[in-house]
Symmetry: C2
Subunit: 408 residues, 2 copies
C-alpha cells in the first residue's frame, strides 16, 4: 500500500466538483461526486434517535437500491429537525442532482448529505441552482477532488483528503476519500461526513460488512465534544473500474485491501480530531492489558471524552488523576490497583503511576512533554489481551467561542 496525492477523485472513473452557491455567505457550500459507472456501496449512519432528513433518505437507499451513482452534499444547513419539509427537501435534492448528472441516473441512485445549522429549512431555490452550476464542471482531476473536499466543510479549518493505491494480484486499485468535522464529534458516528471512493471490485454486502467493522476502530474511537450528531454519515462507493478480481474475505489479496481500506478511514477520523473545534492538541490514548478489546476501547474513549482531562491537556497539566477518574466512570471493568500510566511526546516519555501507586515525577519534564502538539497517553490496566486506541483533543477557550455563537 502506498499513499498517493489526491482524494475523492483518485480512484478511476470518479468525478467531483465543489462551488459556493449561496447557502453560506461566502464560502463553498455545494459538492457533487459522480461515478461514471454504477457502484456497489455501503453506508454507516448516526445512532442518534433524531436523524436528519438526508440520513433517512440515505438509509432507505442502502436498504433498497441495487446500485448508486453519486452523492450531493451541501454545507451550511444540516436539514435536521426540519419536519416533513425536510424529508421532501432531501428527496428533491436527490432528484435535482440525478437530473443534473444526466438522464441515465435515477434519484434513488443519489446519496444526499447536509451539514450545518439545525432546524432551518433548506433554501431550495438557491440549492437547485447550485446543483446545476456545480454539475457543469465535474472533473476527475486532483483539483476537482479538492474543490469538493473544501465545499463540505463547516467550522473545519482545513479540508481532509487522502488517497492510497494498493496492488492486488497485479492490478493497481485506488481508494480515495474526503471528510469533514469538526464539532459534535463523539464515538458512535459524530457530526462528520466521510466519503470514500474506490475502483475495487467488491459486492455491496461484503463492502457493508467491511465498513461495519472498520467504523468501530476508526470514527467510533474519536471524540471532540461528546455530542453525537443527527447527521453523521460515512458512505463508500465502489465502481469496479480497476477490473481487479472480485474481492471477498477469501481472496488472497483481501488482507491487503482491508488494510488499505482501514488506513484511509482511520486517517480521516484522526484528521477530524486534529481539526476539532478549538483544538490545539492531538491526544492519542492507548489502553492495553484489558480483559478484551471492547473493555480497552471503552476505557480509552472515556478518557478522550472527559472535559476535565481535555482542559488539563489544554493547560499542559500532567493531571493523571483525572484520567483514572474518567476510566473509573466509564462503566468498563478494571482494577485501579493494576494501572500503570505514562505520558509521551517527541520530548520523551514519563511514567506517573505504577501498579496503582502514584510516582513522584519531575513536573518540569512533564510540562515539557505535554506542551507538544501531539501527546500520547499509554495506560496498562493488567496483563489481559485487550487493547484499544482512541483519539481526542483538548478543550479550549476557542471551542467555547465557536459554539457560543454558532448560529450568529
Amino acid at each position: 500500500m502506498k499513499t498517493i496525492e489526491g482524494g475523492i477523485t483518485a480512484a478511476k472513473g470518479f468525478l467531483a466538483n465543489g462551488i459556493a452557491c449561496g447557502i453560506k455567505k461566502r464560502k463553498k457550500d455545494m459538492a457533487l461526486v459522480l461515478s461514471q459507472k454504477d457502484c456497489s456501496f455501503a453506508g454507516a449512519f448516526t445512532t442518534n434517535l433524531v436523524k436528519a432528513a438526508p440520513v433517512l433518505w440515505d438509509q432507505a437507499l442502502v436498504k433498497d437500491s441495487a446500485s448508486v451513482r453519486g452523492i450531493v452534499i451541501n454545507s451550511g444547513n444540516a436539514n435536521a429537525c426540519t419536519g416533513n419539509q425536510g424529508l421532501e427537501d432531501a428527496s428533491a435534492m436527490a432528484t435535482l442532482a440525478a437530473k443534473a448528472f444526466g438522464q441515465e441516473v435515477q434519484a434513488n441512485q443519489v446519496f444526499v448529505c447536509s451539514t450545518g445549522v439545525i432546524g432551518v429549512p433548506l433554501p431550495m431555490e438557491i440549492l437547485g441552482k447550485g446543483i446545476d452550476l456545480c454539475a457543469k464542471n465535474l472533473g476527475g482531476s486532483r483539483e476537482a477532488g479538492s474543490l469538493a473536499a473544501e465545499a463540505i466543510c463547516t467550522t473545519d479549518t482545513f479540508s481532509k483528503e487522502i488517497a492510497v493505491e494498493v496492488e492486488l494480484d497485479g492490478t493497481m486499485v485506488h481508494i480515495g476519500g474526503m471528510a469533514k468535522g469538526s464539532g459534535m464529534i463523539h464515538p458512535n458516528m459524530a457530526t462528520m461526513l466521510s466519503f470514500i471512493t474506490t475502483d475495487a471490485v467488491i459486492e455491496k454486502e461484503v463492502l457493508q460488512k467491511l465498513l461495519g467493522t472498520t467504523v468501530i476502530d476508526s470514527y467510533n474511537m474519536i471524540s471532540v465534544d461528546g455530542d453525537t450528531s443527527t447527521n453523521d454519515t460515512v458512505l463508500v462507493l465502489a465502481n469496479g473500474m480497476s477490473q481487479c478480481g472480485t474481492l471477498t474475505p477469501d481472496s488472497s489479496c483481501w488482507d491487503a485491501f482491508k488494510q488499505a481500506f482501514e488506513y484511509v478511514h482511520t486517517y480521516l477520523a484522526k484528521a477530524i480530531v486534529r481539526d476539532g473545534e478549538g483544538a490545539g492538541k492531538f491526544i492519542e490514548v492507548h489502553v492495553g492489558g484489558a480483559s478484551d478489546k471492547k473493555t480497552a476501547q471503552i476505557l480509552a474513549r472515556s478518557v478522550v471524552g472527559s472535559n476535565l482531562v481535555k482542559t488539563a491537556f489544554f493547560g499542559s497539566d500532567a493531571n493523571w488523576g483525572r484520567i483514572l477518574c474518567a476510566m473509573g466512570y466509564s462503566g468498563a471493568a478494571f482494577d485501579p490497583a493494576c494501572v500503570t500510566l505514562s505520558f509521551s511526546s517527541v520530548k520523551g516519555s514519563l511514567e506517573v503511576v505504577s501498579q496503582g501507586q502514584p510516582i513522584v515525577f519531575d513536573e518540569h519534564k512533564a510540562k515539557e512533554i505535554l506542551l507538544e502538539k501531539e501527546v500520547q497517553v499509554e495506560v496498562s490496566v493488567g496483563d489481559g489481551p485487550g487493547a484499544g486506541t482512541a483519539w481526542g483533543c483538548d478543550l479550549s477557550y476557542e471551542y467555547v467561542r465557536i459554539n457560543g455563537d454558532y448560529r450568529s
Copy 2:
C-alpha cells in the same frame, strides 16, 4: 415546613467548626461536625470504580457501624489515587478526629471526607495539628456552621447552607445541611460533598432507604461537566434529640418529614449547579409526556449534560436543535415527531418547536429570554405520564480557565 436561618448546626445537639490549617495556601481547609449524642445515619457515594480512600472508609462505616458521632472533612487534597498510603491516611484521620472529639468517640464512629487535587498524598502532620485546633472551638451557633460550610469549599465561589424546621405531631424537628461543588459534577454523584444533620428520630435502615430515593431526584439530576468524581459523598446524621416519635413510612407525619428532607437535598443540589465552575447561567430542563419517569429523567439529564447545549446557553443562543440532538443520543426512547419545546425566563416564554415541526420565532424575543441568569426549558415528548427535571449550567471560557490549570 419552614426555611430557617442556618446550616449544619441548625438541628439540636450538632456542633461544628471550620479553620485554615495549611493544606491550602490561605483559605479554610478543615471542618469538623460532632453530634452530642450517637446518631443513626445514611450515606450515598460515587459510582466511579476509582473511589478515593475516604469513600472506602465511609462505605465500610455504613456497612458495619451501629452508630456514628461526627465527620472530619478536609479540602485542598482529595486523597484519591493515593494507593495504600491513602487508605492508611483516611483511617488515621478518623482516629485523630475521634481522639480530638473526646474519649467516648471511637474511630469507627467518624466519617472522613476529602476534596481537592487528586494523586497527592495528604500532608498528615499539618492535618493532625489542624484537627486538634479545629476541635478546640466546636460550637452549635449559626456562625460555627458557616465556618464549616466555608472550610469544605474548593473552587466554589460561595458556601452552600440550608436549614428547615417542620412540625411533626406537635414536635419541632430540624434538618440542616451544607454542601460543596463545583467541578466534576455529573449525575450519579459528582465531585460534591453534602452533609445533612437532623434531630429527627429515625432508624438507620429507614434513613438509608429514604436517602437512596432522594438522591435519584436531586444530586443525580444535576450536571456541571459530565465528569463523575472519585470522592462524591452524601452523609446524613440523625441524633434523635428532638424527641419526636420514631419516623417510619407508616408514621402519620412521614410525608411532612420526607418533603422537608427532599427539599433540603434538592436545594443543595441546585446550589451546587448555580455555583458550577465558570457558570453564568442556571438552566432547568423539564421533560414531560414521556412513557415513564426514568425516560423523562434520562432525556432531561442528557440535555443539561451536552457541551453544545451548554455553549449555546453561554451565547444566549436559542439553538433548540442541539437540545433535540442531545435527547436523541441519550439512549431513551421517544418520538421526535411528537416533541414540543419552549424556552422561558422572567422575560416570558417562547415556543420554538411544536409536534416535531420547527416554528418561525422572534429571534429578538428569544435573545431577551435567554440573556437572563435563570432559564427554563420545557419539553413535552408526548402524552405519557413520565416527567423529570434536571439542572445544569452553561459552559464558559471561565470553566476552561479554571480547569486548564487547576493543579497550579
